[in-house]
């Protein structure tokens, strides 16, 4: 029985890791680029500086891991919210496809774009 559902425990591990990363890095990153820089509260980094930061191999890896896990975290939780909050059990397969599919696509895009940084 446990073998068939081996995916659920692994999804939960990914979800938890994503939750930790999202909690640690999410607020500061969104605050900086979504609020602080646009409002001029802090000096916006120059293009060259950002290129240097993003080009760093450690930063590349961390960003890909962060993006992938945070997306899985979001997908996993959102799927359960739709399932429990709106009680749309009959759409279960569709919801799973959209949520996890989106997370997988997003992760691939993240890996590709981080690799593409000159």
């Amino acid at each position: 029985m446990a073998k068939r559902k081996a995916i659920e425990p692994l999804l939960w591990l990914l979800f938890s890791a994503g939750g930790v990363l999202a909690a640690l890095l999410g607020p500061v990153l969104l605050f900086m680029f979504g609020v602080a820089f646009p409002l001029g509260w802090l000096p916006t980094p120059s293009h060259a500086h950002l290129l240097g930061v993003l080009g760093n191999p450690v930063v590349r890896v961390v960003m890909v891991v962060f993006c992938a896990l945070a997306l899985v975290h979001g997908a996993h939780r959102f799927r359960y919210t739709l399932y429990d909050g709106l009680q749309i059990k009959h759409l279960n397969e569709f919801v799973n496809l959209v949520c996890y599919g989106g997370a997988i696509v997003g992760s691939i895009v993240a890996a590709y774009w981080m690799w593409q940084v000159p």
Partner: protein, 247 residues
């Protein structure tokens, strides 16, 4: 403090009704009276047809769980004076089928509890001649909190997942499974894992946390379930990466 308080009690008499109705009763409001005292007063003096469960009246039997003003509570541990001037709404616990008045059907839980094997499982029983199982105080502390469960089912009334998913095994049953998993004398952890590592088991839980909030014995079933998720997922990972190390 007023000397009388109104109880709005849910009534359901299946022979005549197909829905719940509310009946108002005025009962004395003594300083030390609990909701259960009010219900007993109603049954003794005002309406003998009121049906409800109760037993020890001191918070150890788990019989008197009901929704008081929308919150799952033990009626023997809920003081009337705290709700003065009232009225106090007394309803059957949520998420359970209703048999009559304030009495709910708990057969579903009884069946699920048996499924999780809440007893010491040994691959081979120790013969009597070898003496008793020994356990240190710190080994006892590992599971003691989860052994405090009185099966009052307030956690099931509070858990929205149990209300939405009839197959969900539920907080108390999983906490009791953990109580045995963490017991140093037990060897049944992998058997219970097969049963509980399912969508109806631990993976259906989304850590709402209401169960631990309403628990009258501080069992913290939500914590038990989250810890179980971690150990179950690590066990699954181990099984995946090292299938030869059979558990």
């Amino acid at each position: 403090m007023p000397d009388r308080i109104t109880l709005e009690v849910a009534r359901y008499r299946p022979e005549n009704e197909s829905a719940i109705s509310f009946q108002k009763f005025e009962v004395p409001c003594h300083k030390e009276w609990v909701v259960l005292d009010g219900l007993n007063y109603i049954k003794d003096q005002l309406d003998g047809t009121l049906s409800y469960r109760w037993s020890c009246r001191m918070g150890v039997c788990g019989s008197c769980g009901m929704n008081v003003n929308g919150e799952p509570k033990l009626t023997c541990a809920t003081f009337l004076a705290d709700y003065a001037p009232g009225p106090v709404r007394v309803e059957p616990m949520t998420n359970f089928p209703l048999i009559r008045d304030l009495v709910v059907e708990i057969g579903d839980f009884m069946r699920k509890l048996t499924e999780v094997k809440p007893w010491i499982v040994r691959r081979k029983e120790k013969p009597l001649s070898e003496g008793e199982y020994l356990q240190t105080p710190s080994e006892l502390d590992e599971y003691k909190q989860f052994s405090m469960c009185i099966n009052c089912l307030l956690c099931y009334a509070a858990c929205p997942i149990y209300g939405l998913e009839p197959d969900f095994i539920g907080p108390a049953a999983i906490a009791l499974a953990q109580r045995y998993n963490l017991d140093s004398r037990d060897e049944g952890a992998s058997e219970r894992l097969d049963i509980l590592s399912q969508h109806e088991g631990i993976w259906g839980c989304t850590f709402v946390g209401e169960c631990s909030k309403v628990c009258p014995k501080d069992v913290d079933p939500a914590g038990a379930i989250q810890r179980y998720k971690l150990s179950a997922s690590l066990a699954s990972l181990k099984r995946l990466l090292m299938p030869w190390g059979a558990e």
